[in-house]
């Protein structure tokens, strides 16, 4: 299964590629007054209004700042996901598109099912689904559906 990796500070994260609609540059957020801190704001994606979560703040790490390298991952909503998936999608999947603001995008990797390991107990987080070892690095596989619960 293919995963798209990205960086959060020095942490490597990844999401299944079929859950991603597109990846765009972060230029300008429209702030939402009164929204929780971890929401960077809204962006206008060709007519669609997408809420973007600051992944750093969401995971209790340093805030992701807008930079030349930072990107926004736009995830498919439940309808779009259902179209490409044969199995029923995770019921937690957001009904609308959600964005994740990350520090930098990484390469796409291919991971076999047997390479997926459970998340160590000391790192547990509802957002984390599995971990994978690659080149002596840990890559944490995220579950995008859980992102909504962050707010």
């Amino acid at each position: 299964m293919l995963y798209s990796t990205f960086a959060l500070g020095r942490i490597q994260l990844a999401v299944p590629i079929h859950t991603v609609l597109e990846i765009v540059r972060a230029t300008h957020f429209h702030p939402v007054r009164g929204a929780p801190e971890l929401i960077d704001g809204l962006i206008n994606l060709r007519g669609k209004v997408v809420a973007v979560i600051n992944t750093g703040l969401a995971m209790g790490a340093a805030r992701v700042e807008v930079s030349n390298e930072s990107r926004i991952y736009i995830f498919k909503n439940s309808k779009e996901l259902q179209e490409v998936s044969d199995e029923p999608v995770d019921p937690d999947t957001s009904a609308d598109n959600l964005g994740l603001h990350v520090d930098a995008i990484g390469p796409v990797i291919d991971v076999d099912k047997d390479e997926l390991q459970p998340v160590p107990a000391n790192m547990a987080n509802p957002f984390y689904q599995h971990v994978v070892r690659r080149n002596n690095d840990f890559i944490i596989i995220l579950k995008p559906a859980k992102a909504v619960a962050l707010a």
Binding site: H30, P31, V32, R33, G34, A35, I39, L42, I43, N44, G47, K48, V49, V50, A51, I53, S94, A95, D96, N97, L98, A147, V148, L150, A151
Partner: protein, 892 residues
């Protein structure tokens, strides 16, 4: 198309025809028209045809009987008899049941019904042998496919005998009564109306002309709406871009067409609510029968249109509300008659358009909500505490029934109180972006009002700037825009941490976005600066929202909030503006709820039991015109401008001294000069000050000039005097003007001091006989001042701090007062209302009332006189006050 699909289509069709049939019957019940019969015939004919094709035996048979009967009436072989109506309804009910049951009434025994439908000439409509309602088998059916309308069927097993007395009472109201199965006693056949089809009535067929319709999948319509929305936005963007280059003309016809397209597409989703409303006729009839209370349902405004999804969602809540009316609201007919009400209760269901919203009301003329019980229950459940229980008005208490966990229904009847409570009704309405409110009067009835937005997505909105962001406010929620500038008459005031503004007599709360969005931080609204706010309306609640500036108007597509932000109910959604910027759309309803602004009536007067100190906080002082001047470098003084005659500059050398007094010669007259340092502990003006200012005032027809070192300004302001006036002093009080301590001078006292002989205040030649005076004024300073004036000339003065207080004193001791002198602008009860109350009170009507005010314009005088005040005086002018009062007190 599969056989299944064809069958499904027929079922839908049958459902529609049945609804038409039922509606037609309801019309027939009220008013016989051959046209209606034709309609009924057509509907049944269609049903029969399809049922026959699908071999639905019993449905075919029953519809055939109905068709037969209708044909006979049509051909005038059989005269129409209102007694037929109950049986027809019966048949319609059974048809419906068969339509819904899984075996389509296969095993049903409808022999008796069919027989009854034959209505052989001379055949007595069933009286002694009431029709046994066939029990519709539902147990045999697959439990999962239980028809939804279980309740209607539950009420079916009614003892056909009915309640005789209500039946007779019902008969008294021709055509409107709840039809009873034990129908018209034999022999009572009302004259059969001959077919009175006149050309006109033939044209206007009662039950809405048959629309040309076509079935379209809802998904398609949704997609159409979406695309249209996007086109609108794209058009706006394009217009913006071209506008900069001045080329919009090329696009104008297309732009107009897109607007038209938008309107039409919006209408595809709009349906008249009447479609949903008709079924309530039947529901009320059933309820009426089951509860043995005659009830009639009046429907109005069924042509009002609403988005179809809203209509669907309204069905359940409205059903619940109507059931509540019938079950809890309406009394038994004997109880009603005993109360002087009509035996038949009326439930009114009305829909109307109200400025961008649709208002739907369900109203009954029953017993109203027992607010005492609700209050007690709410207290017992800890919903409110004792303080609130005392303060809340009856309507506010009644609205508590929308709160989950407050059920006062003593027994959970079969019909309501089944856990589908008012709280569910409320949340359903709110989910649709609507508001629900309730008004009740014990003994008279209850009215529930629902306000809904007419369209869901595209709204014409005002784009405003608050802080660094732009927000959209739909025009439908926007009432007006108000700018308050520092010099204005009405200002934003603060009461107990809440800013308010008096908008045409009603106090509305003024909110800031910071407060709404920022987790209840108190706003940092500066009261004396220029302030701009929008007046927004949500249902009946009005409030103000502070903005920085207005940007422009735009038609926007409101996109629902991303799921992750759903909790922020004060936003209706987001939108993309013409310039591609994102703007949050504010929701008046949402703001109200997040701030708990419900039917709160902030008008201090309406709340019972507010403490006196609270009322004084709401001290609505009128504004005074003051002349501000300085005497020396430090001290600043003010006098009411109304007393100032002239302001002049003089040179010290112009002053003439005669017999130890200084005079100045102005226009040939010698005017006495008054130096303040001779009467107050002040430093005299420096000798070398060559140029001096004077202002003259006329007291008792004598002019006197007060010397000042400089005239600062004339200012229109509220007087917030701090220390009470000291007796025997010329200073009325101290206030702060532009941050500087300013002494307010009492020119009358000053004049008296200067020249007691000339300026002795008007003294009545003898102590007035009728000298018991009630002085009413909300401003402590004025109360004391007026008291001082009146006591100095021999009156006995009692003080009241507002109209209500005065009225209380008067009614307690009607003979204790000879005259009332009152301020006009006061909280709780103003001068005009006080006057009205005095005039209307038999024991008080003889007491003359004089009005005191700060304004001197002629129109105020006329207004006061025509309201019934005997006369009218200026507060700060002792002379006019005493003049006004003297006519009364000198008579023997």
């Amino acid at each position: 198309m599969s056989q299944e699909e064809v069958f499904r289509n027929f079922m839908t069709e049958m459902g529609d025809r049945l609804a038409e049939f039922e509606q037609g019957l309801a019309e027939l019940e009220q008013n016989f028209r051959m046209d209606t019969v034709h309609q009924l015939f057509r509907a049944i004919h269609t049903i029969k045809g399809g049922a026959g094709f699908f071999e639905l035996g019993n449905i075919t048979r029953l519809s055939h009987q109905l068709e037969d009967l209708l044909m006979k009436i049509r051909e005038e072989d059989l005269a129409f008899d209102p007694a037929m109506v109950p049986v027809l309804f019966e048949a319609a009910d059974v048809l419906r049941d068969m339509h819904e049951s899984s075996d389509h009434g296969k095993g049903l025994d409808i022999d008796e019904l069919c027989l009854a439908l034959k209505f052989k000439p001379g055949h007595k409509p069933a009286t002694s042998a009431p029709i046994q309602k066939p029990v519709v088998k539902t147990e045999s059916a697959n439990p999962e496919t239980q028809p939804q309308r279980k309740t209607a069927m539950d009420t079916r097993q009614v003892d056909a005998q009915g309640a005789p007395e209500t039946s007779r009472a019902a008969q008294a109201h021709t055509g409107r009564s709840a039809p009873m199965l034990s129908a018209v006693p034999a022999g009572q056949r009302p004259p059969t109306p001959k077919t009175e089809v006149s050309p006109q009535s033939a044209i206007e067929s009662g039950v809405g002309a048959r629309h040309e319709t076509i079935r379209v999948k809802v998904d398609l319509l949704d997609r159409l709406m979406e695309l249209t929305g996007e086109i609108v936005v794209a058009r706006n963007q394009l217009l913006r871009q071209l506008d900069d280059g001045g080329q919009t003309l090329a696009l104008s016809s297309m732009a107009h067409m897109i607007s038209d397209l938008q309107q039409v597409v919006l209408q595809t989703r709009m349906q008249p609510v009447g479609g949903t409303f008709t079924k309530f006729n039947r529901i009320v009839r059933d309820l009426s029968r089951q509860l043995e209370k005659p009830i009639r349902l009046l429907i109005r405004g069924d042509e009002t249109e609403l988005d179809r999804s809203i209509i669907e969602a309204l069905s359940d809540p409205l059903t619940h509300l109507i059931r509540n009316c019938a079950d809890h609201g309406v009394e038994r007919s004997d109880a009603r008659v005993a109360l002087g009400k009509e035996a038949t209760a009326t439930i009114r269901l009305e829909a109307r358009n109200e400025g961008g919203q649709v208002a739907i009301t369900v109203e009954d003329d029953g017993r109203g909500i027992d607010t005492a019980k609700v209050r007690a229950k709410a207290l017992a459940n800890g919903l409110i505490h004792a303080g609130q229980a005392a303060e809340m008005s009856d309507n506010e208490i009644a609205n508590l029934i929308f709160h989950p966990g407050l059920s006062t229904a003593e027994e959970v009847t079969d019909l309501s109180g089944r856990g589908v409570g008012m709280d569910v009704v409320k949340s359903t309405i709110e989910k649709l972006g609507g508001v629900i409110e309730l008004e009740t009067r014990v003994g008279s009835g209850t009215r529930v009002s629902i306000y809904l937005p007419t369209t869901l997505t595209i709204m014409s909105s005002l784009i405003v700037r608050i802080g660094e962001d732009r927000f959209a406010v739909p025009h439908s929620e926007l009432s007006e825009v108000i700018v308050v500038r520092p010099g204005d008459e009405l200002q934003i005031e603060r009461i107990r941490e809440q800013e308010v503004y008096r908008l045409r007599g009603q106090l509305i709360p003024i909110l800031t976005l910071q407060r709404i969005a920022g987790n209840g931080l108190s706003s940092n609204l500066q009261l004396d600066e220029e302030c701009r706010f929008l007046v927004l309306k949500a249902g009946v609640t009005t409030f103000g929202l502070v903005i920085d500036e207005i940007d422009h108007t735009e038609e926007i597509v409101i996109k629902p909030l991303p799921q992750i932000l759903k909790k922020m109910t004060f936003y209706a959604g987001s939108s993309i503006l013409g310039d591609s910027d994102v703007a949050m759309v504010l929701s008046a309803n949402g703001i109200c709820h997040s701030q708990n602004l419900h039917l709160q009536d902030l008008q201090a007067g309406k709340a019972a039991g507010r403490s006196v100190s609270d009322l004084q906080l709401l001290d609505l002082q009128e504004k005074q015109d003051l002349l501000v001047f300085r005497y020396g470098t430090d001290e600043q003084f003010a006098v009411p401008l109304s007393l100032v005659f002239k302001v002049e500059i003089i040179e010290r050398q112009q002053i003439e001294t005669i017999a130890n007094r200084d005079f100045i010669n102005l226009e040939g007259r010698n005017i006495l000069l008054v130096y303040l340092d001779e009467h107050l502990a002040l430093k005299p003006l420096p000798e070398d000050l060559e140029r001096l200012y004077i202002f003259t005032t006329k007291i008792n027809k004598f002019e006197v000039a007060v010397v000042a070192s400089s005239i600062e300004e004339s200012i229109h302001t509220r007087l917030n005097l701090d220390s009470p006036p000291m007796n025997e002093s010329v200073v009325l009080g101290v206030t702060k003007l532009h941050g500087k301590l300013t002494f307010l001078l009492d020119l009358f006292s000053l004049a008296e001091k200067v020249s007691p002989d000339i300026f002795r205040g008007k003294v009545f030649s003898e102590t007035p006989t009728k000298n018991r005076l009630l002085v009413v004024d909300d401003t402590p300073f004025f109360r004391d001042l007026e008291k001082k004036y009146f006591e100095s000339v021999g009156f006995q003065v009692t003080l009241a701090f507002n109209g209500q207080d005065a009225l209380d004193l008067l009614t307690a001791k009607p003979r204790a007062f000879d005259l009332v002198v009152t301020d006009i602008v006061m909280p709780v009860m103003d001068g005009y209302d006080l006057l009205k109350n005095i005039r209307n009170h038999p024991q008080l009507a003889h007491i003359p009332v004089i009005a005191l005010t700060s304004f001197a314009q002629e129109e105020n005088l006329d207004k006061a006189k025509s309201a019934g005040f005997f006369s009218y005086a200026l507060k700060t002018n002792k002379e006019t006050i005493l003049d006004a009062v003297s006519p009364f007190v000198l008579e023997g």
